[in-house]
Symmetry: C2
Subunit: 194 residues, 2 copies
């Protein structure tokens, strides 16, 4: 159990995804579960917090997600880069990734899909069924029903990774080439020109 894990108010759950991290999507149904990587994910609403994620038709995770009607978005960190690359390049049709790669899990609070241990945030979601989006664009919408984060890097509604390089979020480009998130900068309002 991670002692630094804390609930995130649902009205601020969008902030866990707002900076565009690559996620691990986990789903479970009828005592089977799977996990995959997804870079095409974003928030779509504040409150209730909604999310969108693209899931290829060939993925086993999508089958479980559709059967159960729920899923978890896990936000992994730099220390997990090999795990993210590996579950993004193996198929749950062929292998139980949890067994094969010794993936530890935590229980969710509202959704049966497992939370992936070692991540820095978790969003438990119910599918908002939109058949046309799912079939035509592989696009799934979900409502966030519970959210948690690691307080070492997410506190008071903001990320701060200073001194926690291993917990920085991962941002996939292509082919296992990731960027890790950097440090904070505060924008200031410009004065209008006369």
């Amino acid at each position: 159990m991670n002692p630094s894990l804390a609930p995130v108010p649902l009205a601020k759950a969008y902030r866990l995804l707002n900076h565009g991290p690559t996620v691990l999507v986990s789903a479970a149904h009828a005592e089977q579960c799977s996990v995959m990587a997804a870079a095409w994910v974003m928030a779509v609403d504040f409150e209730p917090c909604k999310v969108a994620v693209v899931l290829d038709k060939q993925t086993w995770t999508r089958q479980l997600l559709e059967a159960e009607g729920s899923f978890v978005l896990n936000v992994p960190c730099a220390a997990q880069v090999d795990l993210v690359h590996t579950v993004g390049n193996t198929s749950g049709w062929k292998v139980d990734k949890f067994d094969a790669y010794g993936i530890e899990t935590l229980e969710g609070t509202r959704i049966c899909a497992p939370l992936i241990a070692g991540c820095v945030a978790w969003l438990e979601c119910r599918v908002l069924p939109e058949a046309r989006n799912q079939q035509r664009y592989d696009l799934f919408l979900g409502e966030v029903v519970a959210a948690q984060a690691d307080t070492r890097v997410f506190r008071d509604g903001h990320w701060d990774f200073a001194g926690q390089d291993g917990l920085r979020t991962l941002h996939h480009v292509a082919g296992g080439h990731f960027l890790v998130i950097g440090d904070t900068v505060q924008g200031q309002m410009l004065p209008p020109q006369a």
Copy 2:
């Protein structure tokens, strides 16, 4: 004119967004144009490259985008953080942001909306009309018809920001609090456990 600007093959245009940067959305119609900030944006397909972006009903940029059926996703950089914060917190209904903040533009190659100068990538997009998504979720889908990037930081299909701190992409959390993107890490395949 930026001498380091180069076309990006459409099959690799998704990589300009894959790592989750906050963007500036520009649109133009009938000699009016506007620009806003959007963090809720992602790729949804490889080829043809498609994108999704959430645009609030109250925004002037959305009105122009809907009227013209096209838009540009501009990927801004750390040197522009105040500009991004400012256009994200002012309304095109009330002010011409280009005049008020001295925003310089470049001409697009396929779409009439202006490209914002000083950004590090640009995706010119045609709206894929999906009335239900637009009305119910403020969610717009687009097909990328042209893409360019700044070769100082995007070359051979990959981002590399080493030595270019001012050109690092911005990732908004909330309230003008941004994270800048960091450096590269390469994921490796884990061996399956016996």
